[in-house]
C-alpha cells in the first residue's frame, strides 16, 4: 500500500507538472460540449422545396401552404411543369420536388387517391432522405386535415404518423450529448494511459522501475488510478456544461450515470494497457488505439443507429463494449431508465471490464 502511495504521488506530481494535461482535462470536455452538439447533428432544416401543382385544387393549395409554413422547409415556388422543376433540382437551386398530379383532389374524394411524387436530391443523403420523410409526413397530414374539414370519414389516406418519443422535441443535440461523453471517455481513459505507459517504455524509465521490488500490478494500478479520477472529473464537467448550455440533465439517476461511466472508464483504461503492452513506440500505440477507437465509435451506435447497419455488422456490435455503454447512457440520460431496466447492458459492460482487466494482466506478464 505504501508503495502504491509513493507511485501515485509521483504520477500526480508529473500530471500537474505537465504544462498541457491539467488544462486539457478541464477545457477539453467544455469545448467538446460547446461545439460538437451543434456540429455533429443529423438534423435537417431549411430544405428548399419546389411544388409542382398540376391539380390546382383546394387540396393542392393546402399542401403547398403547409409546406410554406413548416420550419423545416424553405418554400420556393409553385411550378407548373415538372421538367422545369427537375432542371432546378439538377442545378442545385432546390433540394426537393413535390409533384401533385392533375385530378388529385378528385381521386382522393373518390377513394382511390393518385400518388404524390416526391423527388429529392440525395447527393447529401441525410438531407435527401430525412427531407423526403418530412415531406411524406406533411403531405399526408394535409390530406387528412382536408378530409376532416369536408367531414368525410373512412376514406383511405396513406397514414403516416411518427411520434418522436423520449426526445419529443426531436432535438438531435440531446441525442448526441451522451454519445459525445462516451467519446470523451474513450479518448481520455483509453488513449492517455496507453500513451503514458508507452512513454515510460520509450524513455526507458519502466526499466528502472522493473529492477526495483515494486510489483507490476501495483505499478499498473498507480498508472491507471489517476486516469480513473480524471475520467470522472471529465464526466462531471461534461454533465455540468451540457446542463448550463443546453439545460439537459440526466432524466434517470445521476448515480447510475456515474456508475456506468466508472465501469466504462476502468474497462477503457484496461484496454489502454493492452494496447500499450503490444506497442513499443508511441506511433504504434497511437495507430493501434485509433483503430480501436474508430471501431468503438463508428460501430458502437454512437453516430448512426445499429439497426441501420448490415446484419453481419449488427452481430459484430455485440462484442463492442461501447454498444452497451451507449445504450445505458442514452437510456439513462434521455429515457430515465434505471439500472434494473438495463441490467443486461450493465452485466455485459462489467463482463467486458473483467475480460479487458484480465487481458491487461496477462499481456503485461508476457513482456517481462
Amino acid at each position: 500500500m505504501r508503495t502504491l502511495g509513493v507511485l501515485l504521488e509521483k504520477e500526480f506530481l508529473q500530471l500537474f507538472r505537465d504544462p498541457f494535461m491539467p488544462k486539457m482535462i478541464v477545457f477539453f470536455p467544455i469545448l467538446v460540449m460547446l461545439i460538437f452538439p451543434w456540429v455533429a447533428t443529423l438534423e435537417v432544416k431549411d430544405v428548399r422545396v419546389t411544388v409542382v401543382d398540376q391539380d390546382n385544387s383546394s387540396l393542392s393549395r393546402l399542401i403547398s401552404n403547409e409546406i410554406e409554413h413548416s420550419a423545416y422547409f424553405e418554400f420556393q415556388e409553385v411550378a407548373k411543369d415538372y421538367d422545369r422543376a427537375l432542371l432546378r433540382l439538377e442545378e442545385d437551386r432546390t433540394d426537393a420536388i413535390v409533384s401533385i398530379p392533375a385530378g388529385f383532389e378528385e381521386s382522393l374524394l373518390k377513394g382511390s387517391p393518385k400518388k404524390i411524387s416526391i423527388s429529392a436530391n440525395a447527393v447529401n443523403a441525410v438531407k435527401g432522405s430525412v427531407g423526403s420523410q418530412y415531406l411524406t409526413q406533411i403531405t399526408g397530414s394535409a390530406q387528412q386535415e382536408f378530409l376532416q374539414e369536408k367531414g368525410i370519414q373512412g376514406l383511405s389516406v396513406p397514414e403516416v404518423t411518427v411520434t418522436n418519443r423520449y426526445n419529443e422535441t426531436l432535438v438531435y443535440r440531446n441525442y448526441m450529448i451522451p454519445a459525445l461523453m462516451i467519446m470523451l471517455l474513450i479518448l481520455v481513459c483509453g488513449f492517455l494511459p496507453a500513451l503514458n505507459i508507452v512513454n515510460e517504455k520509450e524513455r526507458g524509465t519502466i526499466e528502472q522501475i522493473n529492477v526495483t521490488p515494486v510489483k507490476q500490478s501495483v505499478f499498473m494500478l498507480a498508472k491507471l488510478i489517476p486516469f480513473w479520477v480524471i475520467g470522472l472529473v471529465v464526466v462531471a464537467i461534461s454533465i455540468f456544461t451540457s446542463f448550463i448550455l443546453y439545460g439537459l440533465v440526466p432524466s434517470g439517476s445521476w448515480l447510475e450515470v456515474f456508475l456506468a461511466c466508472m465501469i466504462f472508464i476502468i474497462l477503457m483504461s484496461a484496454l489502454g494497457v493492452v494496447v500499450a503492452n503490444y506497442s513499443s513506440t508511441m506511433i504504434e500505440a497511437i495507430f493501434l488505439m485509433f483503430f480501436v477507437i474508430m471501431i468503438f465509435v463508428l460501430m458502437g451506435g454512437l453516430l448512426t443507429p445499429i439497426e441501420s447497419m448490415p446484419e453481419w455488422a449488427q452481430y459484430f456490435t455485440f462484442i463492442l463494449p461501447s454498444r452497451y455503454f451507449n445504450t445505458i447512457m442514452r437510456a439513462t440520460y434521455l429515457k430515465g431508465a434505471s439500472i434494473l431496466d438495463l441490467r443486461l447492458e450493465y452485466a455485459a459492460l462489467a463482463a467486458f471490464g473483467l475480460i479487458f482487466g484480465l487481458l491487461a494482466a496477462i499481456t503485461y506478464r508476457k513482456r517481462s
Binding site: 505504501r2 508503495t3 509513493v6 509521483k10 508529473q14 524509465t205 526499466e207 526495483t212 521490488p213 517481462s368
Partner: protein, 309 residues
Amino acid sequence: MSTTDRAIVVRGLTKRYGKQLAVDHLSFEVEHGEIFGLIGPDGAGKTTLFHMLTTLTTPDEGTASILGKDILKDIRAIRSSVGYMPGRFSLYQDLSARENLQFFAALFRTTVEENYDLVAPIYSQIEKFQDRKAGHLSGGMKQKLALSCALIHRPSMLFLDEPTTGVDAVSRGEFWEMLQRLKEQGITILVSTPYMDEASLCDRIALYNKGRILGIDTPEGFRRGYDAPLYAVSAERMYELLNVTRGMPGVRECYTAGSVHHLVGTADFRPEEYSEALAARGFSDLVIRPIEADVEDVFIKLMHNDPLQ
C-alpha cells in the same frame, strides 16, 4: 565451491533474438568486492547480458545466480539487493534531481537520509542543482544522479551498463574514482564499457564479443600473456603504409591505433628487413619501435584467433 562464495555465477547463459544469438552459452564468475569489467564493442550483447542478470529478461538457456540467488526463482530478492544503471539515462526527466532520488529511495522502502552517507560523495557534486529537472541536467550530472539513484537503497551489487558512454574525459576519470570508493565500501561492481582504456581500471576483465567471452584475466595478466612481437609503425603517408604493411612477409596483421599503426609480427619477423623493404618502396621516413601490448591489442589478437568470430 558453492555458488554463494561468488557474487555472480553464470553457467551457459544463452539468449536468442530470432535466429541471432545475442548471448552465446556464456559462463563466468565474479568475486565479491571486485570491479569486473565487461569489455567489448557496441553490439557485442552486453546489454542483453545485463538485462538477464538484473531479471529484466529471461534467458533461453542456462542459469545464473547473483549473490547466491537464482535469476529465475529469486527475482524479488535480487531486485532488492542490486542496483542497476542502464546505458541510457532512464530517470524521470520531468521530476527534479531530488524528487528522483526520493522516489527511488521510497520504492525500496528507505529514505534518502538513511543512506545519504553512501551517495554523499557523488550526490554532493550535483546537490546545488537538485531542484532542477533531471532532463535539464548536463550529461555528467545526469550520470551522477543515475548512479546516486542506483545506490540509494544500499545495494551489495552494482550493474553499470556503459556508464561512461557520451561523457567527457574528465567526468569519466571522476566516475572511475567514485567506483573505486564504492568498491572500498564492499560493493561488487559489474561494469561494461566499449572503451579499452577503462579496462585497466578494473580488477578483472572479460573480453567480450558477439555474445561470447574471448578471455578473462586481470588487465596486467592480459598484457603479460601477449606473446607475439608487437611494433608501432608510422610514416608520412599513413594510409598507404597500412596497405603496404599488410602485404609484407612476416606480418600477421596491422591496424590503426591512434596516431600510429600497430604491427603484429610472426615469430620470424625481422624489423630491419621490414624497414629496408619499405624504404625501397618510398617510405624513407618510416619509424618502427617495439611496444608493450595494451588491452586493445589483446582484444584484437583474441578476436582473430577465435574460430567463431
